[in-house]
């Protein structure tokens, strides 16, 4: 078969899984198609960047990390570990550079989930271009059986692996992008990132800025680490553990994408931002209370206060974040909630009982035209619900 024909076949074979994945993941996002295509192209360019780098290292081997590994590590096991760590680092670095570059030019990331989605689109572009080269090489040198195995495995698991690695980086990049609002919210819950405090002091940068850099680095290291482990396991023919890594990562991304907090639009035009009609100090008091009650898991109260607060200050991202996170905690599909329910063997528990609603219900019952017996029955029902709530809080899971 001619080389041109092999390239065409490789292109067709690698585009099939990409089209399937794009359809499965993004068919409902009609408005974002152009941006997703842009990120997809960014992923393809990232592969070309890797090839360019390898071309450059051919002329300047002193900068070649692969050569460095080859020259300095003689133990074959360590050599492979190092080699695949370098591959993981390199691929994740160029992919994340594309995501950051496109976002800096087009400001496409408006929510944390946007960041995950665009990371996934870039990963698909990367997997598409990388697969063309792999398929071409395998078709040139291997048997038809080997070609089928490679095409199937790379189409499903390697493409999925790239999506997981870049999606996880996308999540951290999204957090990093909105660190001002997120760090304010976490601060109200009484949570401070010690390392960000220390780095902020050392480098004389703001706490939010230090936290932003930490989150980007954390995302990059996590993505590179998982990628390196995945590559290394594959090299040792440990197919099952590598599949488990990808499946778990995929489920984690699915969970992240379902969260309401991740879909909040946290970017806004400062000129269009509506002002709060509540006094700054008064709003701060309410926000502190929201943070306190969120920490005490009074999620229904938090949600109600946030709703009232958003009527007064509709563009406050910290309030939006608290509300969305409280809703996520109350979501019946929330995995943490499911764990608690499984452990206690109860259908519904806690956190749905609002302190204010609890007493309001009692007041309403007391004011009703009911017999003392009926009132007592209703009071007992409300108290039983409250007892369940206290029981769960005591466990401090």
């Amino acid at each position: 078969m001619s080389n041109t024909f092999l390239w065409i076949i490789s292109g067709v074979l690698s585009s099939i899984p990409v089209l399937v994945w794009l359809y499965l993941l993004f068919s409902d996002r009609k408005k974002e198609k152009k941006l997703l295509a842009l990120m997809f192209s960014g992923g393809i360019i990232a592969v070309l960047t890797v090839f360019l780098l390898e071309f450059f290292w051919g002329y300047f081997p002193e900068f070649d990390p692969f050569k460095w590994v080859e020259n300095n590590i003689s133990n074959p096991t360590y050599y492979y570990v190092a080699l695949f760590i370098v591959v993981g680092i390199l691929e994740e670095l160029v992919k994340q550079m594309m995501v950051r570059y496109v976002d800096s030019k087009k400001v496409i990331i408006q929510t944390i989930n946007d960041s995950i989605r665009f990371g996934i689109a870039a990963a698909l572009g990367f997997a598409f271009a990388e697969n063309i080269v792999y398929f071409y090489m395998v078709m040139q040198n291997e048997s038809i059986q080997q070609v089928i195995i490679t095409v199937l495995f790379r189409s499903i698991f390697t493409a999925c692996g790239h999506m997981v690695f870049s999606g996880i980086f996308g999540y951290y990049f999204g957090i990093a992008k909105f660190t001002i609002d997120i760090s304010l919210q976490k601060g109200l819950e009484g949570k401070k990132h010690i390392l960000a405090l220390i780095l902020g002091r050392i480098f004389r940068i703001s706490y939010a800025q230090a936290l932003r850099e930490i989150k980007i680095l954390q995302g990059l290291l996590t993505a590179m680490g998982i990628h390196a482990v995945f590559n290394f396991l594959l090299q040792l023919n440990q197919i099952l553990p590598s599949i488990i890594i990808v499946v778990l990562g995929f489920l984690f991304l699915r969970y992240l994408l379902q969260r309401k907090a991740g879909n909040l639009i946290l970017i806004s035009d400062i000129d269009e931002k509506r002002r709060s009609n509540m006094g700054k100090n008064d709003e701060d008091v309410v926000l502190e209370l929201v943070g306190l009650w969120f920490e005490q898991k009074k999620f229904v109260d938090v949600m109600h206060i946030c709703e009232r607060l958003l009527e007064r200050d509709p563009d406050n991202n910290v309030v939006k974040l608290f509300k969305a996170q409280a809703m996520d905690k109350l979501d019946p599909n929330n995995p943490y909630r499911k764990i608690i329910e499984t452990m206690l063997g109860k259908q519904r528990n806690s956190q749905e009982v609002s302190t204010i609603a609890y007493y309001r219900q009692k007041k309403e019952i007391a004011g009703k035209n009911l017999s003392e017996n009926q009132k007592e029955k209703l009071f007992r029902f409300i108290d039983r619900k409250k007892d369940q709530e206290d029981e769960v809080f005591k466990l401090k899971i």
């Binding site: 006094g279 008064d282 008091v285 306190l292 009232r308």
Partner: protein
């Protein structure tokens, strides 16, 4: 140093037998430096009067309430209400009333513009 704040408590006459009515006058600013200490006064009052305690909080001279003090207010309400009592608030400054409304406490605790109205509401 603790910010100046005080709570003075006085008895209010009630015509209903067995009903205990107290007027608690708050002054100054309740903040992190003093709120835990001042809150104990109300908790003691609740402990000393385990049943049918009715409280009128006079907030006329209360300039500031921090988040913790609002948490305490919710807790006092729960304890008093559980024992058959009531809490009402009188003469609240607009900024504090605004906070209480956003938090949702005005759904539980009635607010009045005068002490007399509050007394009337609690004793009838």
């Amino acid at each position: 140093m603790a910010t100046p704040a005080s709570i003075t408590i006085e008895d209010v006459e009630s015509t209903t037998p067995g009903m205990v009515v107290k007027l608690a006058k708050f002054t100054g600013q309740l903040d992190e430096s003093n709120v835990d200490e001042k809150a104990q006064q109300i908790y003691q009052l609740i402990e000393q009067n385990p049943a049918n305690l009715n409280l009128i909080f006079d907030f006329e001279d209360l300039e500031y309430m921090n988040s913790k003090s609002i948490g305490y207010l919710t807790d006092w309400y729960g304890k008093v209400y559980e024992n058959g009592g009531k809490i009402v608030i009188a003469k609240t400054r607009p900024n504090i009333l605004d906070i209480l409304q956003v938090v949702g406490l005005t759904q539980l605790i009635k607010t009045f513009s005068t002490i007399d109205e509050a007394k009337f509401a609690i004793t009838h």
